[in-house]
């Protein structure tokens, strides 16, 4: 029992932090209420440190204590999640009840513990991050199901209450939450049924057991159906094509800080679970001549599953990019770009682990891309949330259309340049982080022999160049629209800090790309019984 607990220290820390934040949130004194965010931050940092220190990885993971398919996945994932969560926290979705807080200060309105939901927002934030870390550590279908639900339920609420003051934004937020919740529930039902079928086919919900039964007994029809249903269900989380319809409306409806959260957390949860499912059903390891070659070379996923992934990847990339071309609203552009990026990551998934060296390993490429995407995306959403404009009825509403961010480098350089750099990095422009993230996708797909997919990937990055260029051009080159209302920076300094930190990371991380790629390669490395296989040849960890 105790070794199972070793997995959960970070989640426990988050849980405690969530409760503390909730209590702090309803304290009568405004000062303590404002501390809620600080406590949340402390919680995330603690979780990060605990994850770094306590999570067992590599050979330490035994069959009983966790899933041995991708043993060191949990360590890399949890630490990465903690870092990006910290950045997301900086977005500080403070617009939730700013008017109310202001009214309270003026004494117009008495503080009513029941009505305020500022601190609850942070607790939901922490619960969702906890769910995400649980997904990373999941080794059982039930655990995985619960973790996925724990990740998404808080997000439904965050979307609903993130509308902030003002009639019109609140209405839009509620519409977004409706769509998100109901379609989310549909998705959940689908993958639950898939899990059920998987259990039915193999008789156990433990991932290692299922893996063993599938590899020995072969993938039966029921198991395959279960797999397909669960993959399609999870596609909702990563906004892959058939299930992508909610994304633009939700990202536009919710406030940009929440949209940033949605762009990272459910997507990571989805991809981690897909990785677990795929490694459960395929990728059996055999130490190869120069490192590990997967039996049947990379494409050991059962053929139908591979075709499914292939079609979803191609469609997601293309539809995501193509629909983003004519959008007028920056939020919708970023929504479609997040769909497109899911498509890119699916390519890595199809490429499979290869021989374990970084550039042949699709799984490592996906993990590395997830982290880089998280960092880049926070920058763009931070910029959006950092700006607001006075609407007709005097309320401060958050900006939406591309006209609002024209000439940002001139008016608000601290927000303009991060948007410029992050959009270039999302485009995959060479010196920035995005390029180094996309390059392994190219190389792993080529080594897996998916030439057509590489061509589609190349074409899509060319199409994507167009709307990222529009963002880059709007921010850097065009003059701000005189007619539009005066766009001012929102009072929350932390959002500008988040934007600048993310822009700095996009540039600075290039230097440590070597170390990062090694970390993601280790994360994707299989569990190798020390006795059975020879030590990994020197060139492997080159």
């Amino acid at each position: 029992m105790m070794d199972r607990l070793a997995y959960l220290w970070p989640e426990i820390a988050l849980f405690i932090a969530a409760c503390v934040v909730m209590v702090v949130g309803i304290s009568p004194s405004a000062a303590t209420r404002r501390l809620a965010a600080v406590f949340a931050g402390l919680g995330v940092v603690a979780a990060g440190i605990l994850a770094w220190t306590t999570t067992p990885s590599g050979n330490a993971v035994t069959a009983s204590s966790g899933q041995v398919l991708l043993p060191s996945l949990a360590l890399y994932a949890k630490v990465g999640i903690a870092i990006v969560a910290l950045l997301l926290l900086l977005l500080k979705p403070g617009t939730v009840d700013r008017a109310e807080e202001a009214a309270i200060e003026l004494g117009v309105q008495k503080f009513d513990a029941l009505r305020t939901n500022r601190a609850e927002f942070f607790s939901f934030f922490l619960f969702s991050i906890m769910g995400l870390m649980l997904v990373a550590g999941a080794d059982d279908l039930i655990w995985l199901f619960l973790a996925l639900e724990l990740t998404s339920l808080p997000t439904y609420i965050m979307v609903a209450i993130s509308g902030g003051a003002g009639r019109e934004p609140a209405a839009r937020a509620q519409e977004a939450s409706v769509k998100y919740f109901f379609l989310g529930a549909l998705g959940a039902a689908v993958f639950l049924y898939g899990f059920a079928m998987l259990y039915g086919a193999t008789g156990s919900t433990n991932l290692n057991a299922i893996h063993a039964s599938l590899t020995t007994g072969g993938v039966s029809g029921l198991a395959l159906a279960g797999l397909i249903m669960s993959v399609l269900g999870i596609c909702f989380k990563i906004a892959a094509v058939p299930m992508h319809f909610y994304t633009p409306d939700v990202y536009q409806g919710a406030s940009p800080s929440v949209a940033g959260f949605l762009a990272f957390v459910p997507k990571t949860a989805g991809f981690l679970s897909l990785l677990l499912l795929a490694s459960m059903v395929g990728w059996t390891w055999a130490p190869g001549e120069n490192g590990l070659t997967v039996s049947g070379g990379g494409a050991s996923l059962p053929e139908p599953l591979r075709i499914l992934f292939w079609v979803i990847a191609a469609l997601t990339m293309t539809i995501g990019n193509v629909l983003a071309l004519q959008q007028k609203s920056v939020r919708r552009i970023l929504a479609y770009s997040s769909i497109a990026h899911s498509g890119y990551m699916l390519v890595g998934l199809i490429a499979g682990p290869g021989d374990g060296s970084f550039t042949r390993n699709g799984v490592a490429a996906v993990l590395f891309y997830l982290f880089c995407y998280g960092v880049m995306n926070v920058g763009t959403f931070a910029v959006l949330s950092g700006l607001e404009r006075k609407t007709r009825d005097g309320q401060m509403s958050e900006i939406d259309s591309i006209e609002d961010i024209r000439g940002l480098c001139a008016t608000h350089p601290r927000l303009g340049w991060p948007m410029a750099l992050c959009s270039l990095s999302l485009l995959g422009f060479p010196p920035l982080l995005g390029f180094w993230a996309k390059l392994p996708l190219f190389t792993s797909a080529i080594s897996a022999g998916e030439i057509i997919l590489v061509i589609v990937l190349g074409l899509n990055s060319a199409i994507a160049a167009f709307y990222y260029l529009r963002l880059f051009g709007a921010v850097l080159l065009e003059k701000p629209e005189a007619s539009a209302g005066e766009v001012s920076a929102s009072p929350f300094v932390s959002r500008r800090v988040a934007a600048m930190v993310s822009a700095a990371l996009v540039v600075a991380l290039v230097v440590v790309v070597g170390q990062l790629t090694d970390a993601s390669r280790k994360a994707a490395a299989p569990k190798v019984e020390p006795a059975a296989s020879a030590t990994i040849p020197a060139s492997m960890n080159h």
Partner: protein, 579 residues
């Protein structure tokens, strides 16, 4: 180490410009550019001219390692080909800054900062020996140019800038795919990733001809968009008409050379068998480009568009020289890169000067400026003659060598009707081009005369025609008051003449006494042509004596049969090519 300094100077200057107040932007930019010029001069001075084929000033291995797992390193080194182009870039830098004194009046800081960034990116391209570093700099030149065109362009600059960026970006993504494919196949065989140019060259040479065909296709497509070769040239006239003067000078002077430099430095050695096989196709595209571009020039009304299309025609010659795969042709094309940079750059400067005075580029509104601007007309006639290829000026030397290279490169000289009884034609080299290609391309020289004289005849000679707002009242005797706003007197100012004189001097010197440059290019060109024609046997055969100032770069780690740095030039005597 010195190359890293060379590339960092403009970047540092760019940062200083960004920080400094707008008023001092231009002077800092000039200091930065002059710093680059001085550094380039020092490099030229300390370059070991005996071993021109050797990669000199190379960074030592350890400090340049960037992404070990991908084998990407910041390895930089330069041989005489790159040295020449670095010198050209260093020369055009200060000229552009000086030329844009009156043209650019608002957002000075952005303009000069991005021009300095562009300068360092271009220098990076010429010094890069690592494919990813080359690709990064190659891509990075797009941003500054995009900004320059879309901020200081004229009417539909947005469309021109977007088309320029997307067209070149797509092209270079395809080139990247080619490079990555080669790197992957190397890693597949050797288990270890590297993007070092020499290693990949040696490896991709040994690939079967079919795969080489694909690699060449990808690289050729990527660089053809940049050169621009015939079907991919439509972005150039648009970009030129919309770019500011200095932007056009740099675009024509150096950016187009990235494409041809890429072809000679990477496309040819990477896929020698495919290149020789497809040489006739490439030559055909060039010849079409020459005549097609030339004839279109002839019917243009916008002077800048005319000179832009003339660049398409001229670079057709340049790549034709490459397609001939012999020393004459390749030396001619490298010389052509330099000469085209000088003469077309100067033409754009001249057009810019007229644009600053009369704010029009249409040949309908301008005419007979010799009466009003004699000094400008002298320079215009001079540089038109240089670019039409008048012997005695630089254009002729390179144009003749390219044509003669194409003429020479044919197997027909040995046999059949063309052959000789003794079967021995000393002047011939193996290849598939020959007399007809040179003859048709030669008509390009006539077409060049047609459109350039049409332009000079319309703009310089003939009765005086001035745009509506500027015509000083009739043929008044003393023409003192000049109506041109922008405070520019009628004829060229001292600054403008100062900008043009160095270019003119170089045109004459390179035209009358080009032999030192030809001698300097001899070895690297011999190496490249040898690599293309007989797949680098010469390089293999070279003994391992590193020249003086090359930091012993040592073998590419883990590459068993690497022959290390190519050795002194005199050992390079490619075999008897004539049969």
């Amino acid at each position: 180490m010195m190359l890293a300094v060379l590339i960092l100077i403009p970047l540092a200057a760019a940062v200083m410009v960004a920080v400094a107040p707008a008023s001092r932007a231009r002077s800092i930019a000039m200091v930065g550019m002059l710093g680059v010029a001085v550094m380039a001069g020092y490099l030229l001075f300390s370059f070991d001219w005996e071993h021109t084929a050797a990669q000199q000033f190379a960074l030592d291995e350890e400090s340049s390692r960037l992404v070990p797992s991908l084998g990407v390193s910041l390895s930089m080194s330069v041989d005489s080909i790159s040295m020449m182009l670095v010198a050209l870039t260093a020369l055009l830098g200060p000229i552009c800054v000086a030329a844009s004194k009156t043209a650019i009046t608002e957002r000075l800081k952005t303009y000069y900062a991005w021009m300095l960034v562009l300068q360092s990116a271009m220098l990076g391209v010429f010094c890069a020996r690592d494919m990813i570093f080359f690709y990064t700099c190659f891509e990075f030149t797009l941003i500054p140019m995009y900004i320059m065109i879309s901020l200081w362009g004229s009417t539909n600059r947005k469309k021109a800038a977007a088309k320029f960026f997307l067209y070149t970006f797509t092209g270079s993504v395809i080139a990247l795919a080619g490079i990555v494919y080669v790197a992957w196949s190397y890693a597949d065989r050797h288990g270890m990733w590297t993007f070092d140019a020499d290693t990949l060259m040696r490896w991709s040479r040994s690939l079967p001809a079919a795969t080489q065909g694909w690699v060449l296709g990808a690289l050729l497509l990527g660089f053809a968009v940049k050169v621009p070769l015939f079907p991919f040239h439509t972005w150039l006239p648009l970009a030129h008409t919309e770019a500011p003067t200095a932007g056009s000078v740099i675009l024509a002077g150096v950016l187009l050379k990235l494409g041809t430099y890429g072809l000679v430095r990477f496309a040819m050695p990477f896929a020698p068998a495919a290149f020789v096989g497809h040489a006739p196709f490439i030559a055909a595209v060039c010849v079409v480009g020459i005549l097609y571009g030339g004839l279109i020039c002839w019917v243009q009304t916008d002077v800048k568009k005319l000179v832009a299309y003339s660049s398409v025609a001229h670079l057709g010659f340049c790549v034709l020289g490459l397609a001939s795969c012999n020393v004459m042709g390749v030396t001619g094309s490298i010389l052509y890169m330099i000469n085209h940079g000088l003469s077309t750059g100067a033409l754009f400067l001249l057009i810019g000067m007229v644009y600053e005075r009369y704010h029009t580029r249409s040949m309908k509104e301008l005419g007979g400026l010799a009466a009003k601007m004699p000094v400008w007309s002298t320079f215009m006639v001079f540089f038109a003659m240089a670019s039409v290829g008048l012997p005695g000026l630089n254009g002729f030397v390179s144009e003749f060598m390219c044509l003669f290279g194409a003429f020479q490169a044919s197997d027909q000289w040995g046999a059949g009707m063309w052959g000789t009884a003794a079967g021995q034609t000393p002047g011939a080299t193996p290849g598939h081009l020959g007399a007809w290609v040179a003859a048709i391309a030669g008509t390009g020289m006539v077409v060049a005369a047609m459109y350039l004289l049409y332009m000079v005849g319309k703009v310089v000679w003939g009765p005086l025609v001035e745009p509506a707002g500027h015509s000083s009242h009739g043929a008044d005797a003393h023409g003192h008051g000049s109506h041109e706003h922008g405070g520019l007197p009628r004829d060229l100012t001292g600054r403008e003449i100062g900008v043009l004189v160095p270019l003119a001097a170089l045109c004459i010197v390179l035209g009358v006494y080009p032999s030192p440059v030809i001698k300097a290019l001899k070895d690297p060109v011999a190496l490249t042509t040898d690599e293309v024609v007989n797949f680098g046997k010469a390089r293999m055969a070279m003994p391992l004596v590193p020249p003086a100032n090359v930091v012993p770069a040592g073998h590419q780690e883990g590459d068993p049969h690497g022959a290390g740095e190519p050795a002194p030039a005199h050992a390079v005597e490619s075999k008897e090519t004539a049969r």
